[in-house]
């Protein structure tokens, strides 16, 4: 899923003040960012309380309406927000960047501000640690790498084994990051596919990735 992280509140508050927003629609998104604790109904309520607290202490009149459709990335769902959007000076969207843009497209002339930083395509463990798993590169090679993605799990997106900075299974970028290629190597061994380790990956076609300009995809 798409993992988001709520922006620092001071940044959000500054945007509100800078845009002279008095009536704000705080729009959550009921799917991915809900699961990643960044923009669901709960965060919308909490952010509302925090912003109102701040506004009151500053003497800023801020009226906040809360709304959390199932998904902000589908016009059919964002349309439910039409009346509230109309009534507001601006919308603060707690969805990922897709939702923010869908909203902006759906409601021309309305300022849509992002309240969340879209972080990654990832997953989380019960202890709430989110890890990036996929780079949406457009040409998946997980079949060759034991199900571990070298594009995002190797800091340098190396395709043919680790760089010289792999030390004791950790990446030279940070000791908190496991070396992607160490993970791949261990996994292939576990799968008794250690032999494939030697096969050289041929030059990769990056055209389906972001290097060919904004991607469009027609689903058949």
């Amino acid at each position: 899923m798409i993992v988001g992280q709520r922006k620092p509140i001071d940044e959000i508050y500054a945007m509100i003040v800078a845009n002279d927003v008095k009536k704000l629609l705080l729009g959550g998104c009921g799917t991915c960012v809900t699961i990643s604790f960044a923009g669901g109904e709960k965060e919308v309520a909490e952010l509302t309380a925090a912003l109102e607290l701040k506004a009151t202490s500053d003497g800023w009149t801020l009226e906040i309406t809360q709304l959390t459709p199932l998904r902000q990335c589908e016009p059919e769902y964002t349309r439910e927000m039409a009346d509230a959007v109309k009534a507001a000076d601006a919308v603060l969207s707690l969805s990922c960047g897709v939702g923010v843009q869908t909203l902006a497209a759906e409601f021309p002339g309305k300022r849509v501000l992002p309240g969340v930083n879209t972080m990654m395509l990832g997953s989380h463990s019960p202890d709430r640690l989110f890890i990036e798993y996929c780079g949406a590169c457009g040409d998946c090679i997980l079949g060759e790498t034991g199900g571990i993605c070298p594009i995002v799990r190797c800091s340098k997106s190396m395709l043919n084994g680790p760089c010289g900075g792999s030390v004791n299974g950790k990446c030279e970028v940070s000791p908190d990051i496991g070396c992607g290629w160490q993970l791949i190597f261990d996994k292939l061994n576990e799968l008794k596919l250690g032999a494939t380790w030697d096969e050289v990956t041929t030059a990769r076609d990056w055209r389906p990735s972001w290097h060919g300009g904004p991607r469009r995809l027609e689903s058949k």
Binding site: I9, Y13, T31, E41, K42, A49, A50, E52, L53
Partner: protein
């Protein structure tokens, strides 16, 4: 979704919101607790002393250790709260906790005969529904058998007076010294009113064919107890024989002990374990020196001239037949004589229908539509709270008859027992009951034999309540199966069900609220409006004292050497119920300081609550910092 109620509430014939008032007692908020208890039971103060407490027999805590002392908490609520309305005669501006309610509608005139629990409950309900009610009582005071016969060592007059005053204060008019069959007839009442309720109870004492009912030194229970309560106790001859094995017989025997009888022998047909009296009453009587002579049927009074010398009894081989019907059989030729100079027969009560037969229609045979029967007159022998319940039922029937609108039916489901796997997880806590005075001391007077709980004891006892059924409910429309609840619950209760929606077993849930506060989709709420309650109380505390102290019941229990003090305390079942939003709302409501109490790690029953609370407070502090506000406005209190 069908409503659920905890079994304590379901077991109370008057459907008392036990959990509601127990929780308030736990916080030392006795007046509010009293109001809750009284809402459905106009005799709640009296019931706090004499109820047979079916609620306790059904309390879910029993499967962990022992039931909550529910009855005694009702007593504490009335004793320590501002319970009693003043004397209604002088009470034009008195403070009553039951507001006069007028639900509107066309006022009808209703007469009720008998100011016992049934009659007065029905009266209060009908007044609340907007009708004009007059109660006709032959005695100079109201309360029925509670007033006339229940001995003062079990029920003080002050408690009963309080109940009666409150009923009167709602607008019920009671006319005293008015006896059906003497001062008025049923036909007169029918002519003057739109409806009549007969609630005259069971004023007759039964006797035995084997000897004369009354005579020198032979009494029956009701006149005997009535005389004692009225202050004219008969002079008892030295040894007293009480015939009967029910609660009334026990009252008679214990009263005889207090009147100075040298020896009191209770004789009954049943074996000790089949005696109809409650176990605790039998034990209390035995402790006061009442001798039990079980499995004996009285057969002949032994007397010489006018003086009684004893009672010859025959051994009983069985009391009930195979179908469970009363059908005593005796052992041939097995007799024994219990010696004694006074005999008091207490083998049951009956109703008085004399004045009803003489009516235009014989009401015992055919009931006109405008005549209703309530309480023990209708149901046969029961309990005070049973009479209250019947009073409610009959009032609803009367109201339906008078207005033509059928009474609403509310039948919630009852929460199941605490599942086996949860029982060892709930920390055990010793039940507290009001101390009993030493028997040698208490038999000397008619003062209460149990002094009752102190305020602090009552609060601690209240904190034992598990708040059954204030736990989590999932809204399937909102759940996105994110697994957060599954991961956060300390007891692994939530599961993602077959239709990809979280399912939470109501019977297992311990109402810590962690899942509800963590669910990112806002799909989980707590029953009984816990979130709104917490918010309301936090806002009130912030407004009143500029400070909010969130506490969990666990910690209050462990700390409770004294009553929770001040207006700042906002109690939650578990601190896990306190969400970041709630903390922020408390600040927004004007609190300059919000404290969130934590249980020590070993002391926390809800495993994951501690870590989550620390994280939440840190997150709110970070928010405050980001906003340039003072992070120390919120703090953890270890």
């Amino acid at each position: 979704m069908r409503d659920f109620v905890p079994p304590c509430q379901a077991a109370c014939p008057a459907f008392t919101d036990v959990q509601g008032y127990v929780a308030l007692t736990a916080l030392g908020r006795f007046t509010e607790a009293y109001d809750v208890a009284r809402l459905t039971n106009p005799f709640s103060n009296s019931c706090g002393y004499i109820c047979f407490r079916p609620c306790e027999q059904n309390c879910r805590r029993a499967s962990v250790d022992q039931p909550i002392s529910i009855m005694e908490l009702k007593r504490a609520a009335a004793a320590f709260g501002e319970a009693c309305g003043p004397d209604p005669e002088s009470a034009s501006n008195g403070q009553f906790h039951m507001q006069r309610r007028n639900l509107g509608g066309e006022a009808k005139r209703i007469a009720i005969i008998g100011a016992g629990p049934a009659g007065l409950t029905a009266a209060q309900d009908l007044v609340a529904a907007g009708h004009k009610v007059t109660v006709f009582e032959r005695e100079p005071k109201a309360g029925g058998m509670l007033r006339l016969t229940i001995p003062n060592y079990r029920l003080p007059d002050t408690a009963l007076d309080c109940d009666i005053n409150e009923v009167a204060a709602t607008g019920v008019k009671i006319k005293y010294g008015q006896e059906l069959g003497k001062d008025f007839s049923i036909d007169e009442l029918r002519a003057d009113n739109d409806g009549v309720i007969i609630a005259t109870g069971l004023p007759f004492s039964r006797s035995l064919p084997v000897f004369p009912t009354e005579g020198d030194n032979v009494y029956t229970a009701i006149p005997f107890l009535k005389a004692v309560k009225a202050g004219n106790p008969p002079a008892l001859k030295s040894r007293v024989i009480v015939v009967g094995g029910g609660n009334v017989a026990i009252d008679v025997a214990r009263t005889a002990v207090r009147l100075g009888a040298k020896e009191v022998n209770l004789v009954c047909l049943e074996s000790r374990d089949k005696m109809p009296a409650h176990d605790w009453e039998i034990e209390e009587a035995a402790a006061e020196g009442v001798n039990l002579n079980c499995c004996l049927g009285p057969s002949k009074l032994v007397s010489s001239g006018a003086s009684v010398e004893g009672l010859t009894c025959q051994a009983v081989s069985r009391v009930f037949n195979e179908e469970g019907r009363f059908d005593p059989q005796f052992v041939p030729d097995k007799f024994l004589t219990v010696a004694g100079e006074t005999v008091i027969v207490s083998i049951g009560q009956g109703r008085d229908t004399s004045a009803l037969r003489s009516a235009e229609v014989d009401i015992t045979k055919e009931q006109p539509r405008d005549v209703f029967m309530a309480g023990e007159f209708a149901t046969g022998p029961g309990s005070a709270i049973g009479a209250v319940q019947n009073g409610h039922v009959v009032a609803a029937a009367v109201a339906a008859f008078l207005t033509g609108k059928p009474a609403a039916v509310y039948e919630p489901a009852v929460l199941a027992d605490l599942p086996e796997r949860m029982r060892p997880l709930v920390p055990a806590r010793q039940r507290r009951t009001g101390m009993t005075r030493p028997s040698a001391d208490r038999v000397r007077d008619f003062e209460l034999f149990e002094p009752g709980l102190t305020e602090v004891e009552a609060a601690r006892e209240g904190l034992r309540c598990m708040a059954c059924l204030s736990g989590a409910v999932v809204d399937p429309e909102k759940c996105i199966a994110c697994l957060t609840c599954v991961r956060v619950c300390p007891f692994e209760i939530p599961k993602i069900g077959a239709d990809n929606v979280a399912v939470i077993d109501t019977a297992e849930c311990q109402a810590c609220g962690l899942c509800a506060t963590e669910c990112p989709a806002g799909a989980i709420t707590l029953r009984r409006g816990q979130e709104e309650r917490l918010l309301d109380e936090a806002v009130a505390a912030a407004a009143a004292a500029k400070q909010v102290d969130f506490y969990c019941m666990n910690r209050l229990y462990n700390d409770a050497d004294e009553l929770p003090q001040g207006h700042t305390i906002v109690p939650a079942m578990c601190i896990g119920q306190v969400s970041e939003l709630l903390m922020l709302e408390a600040l927004r409501a004007g609190a300059a300081k919000v404290n969130v109490s934590l249980c020590p790690e070993e002391g926390c029953f809800f495993g994951t609550a501690r870590d989550r609370t620390i994280a939440r407070v840190a997150s709110v502090q970070a928010t405050l910092t980001e906003l340039g506000l003072e992070p120390a406005m919120i703090a953890i209190k270890e």
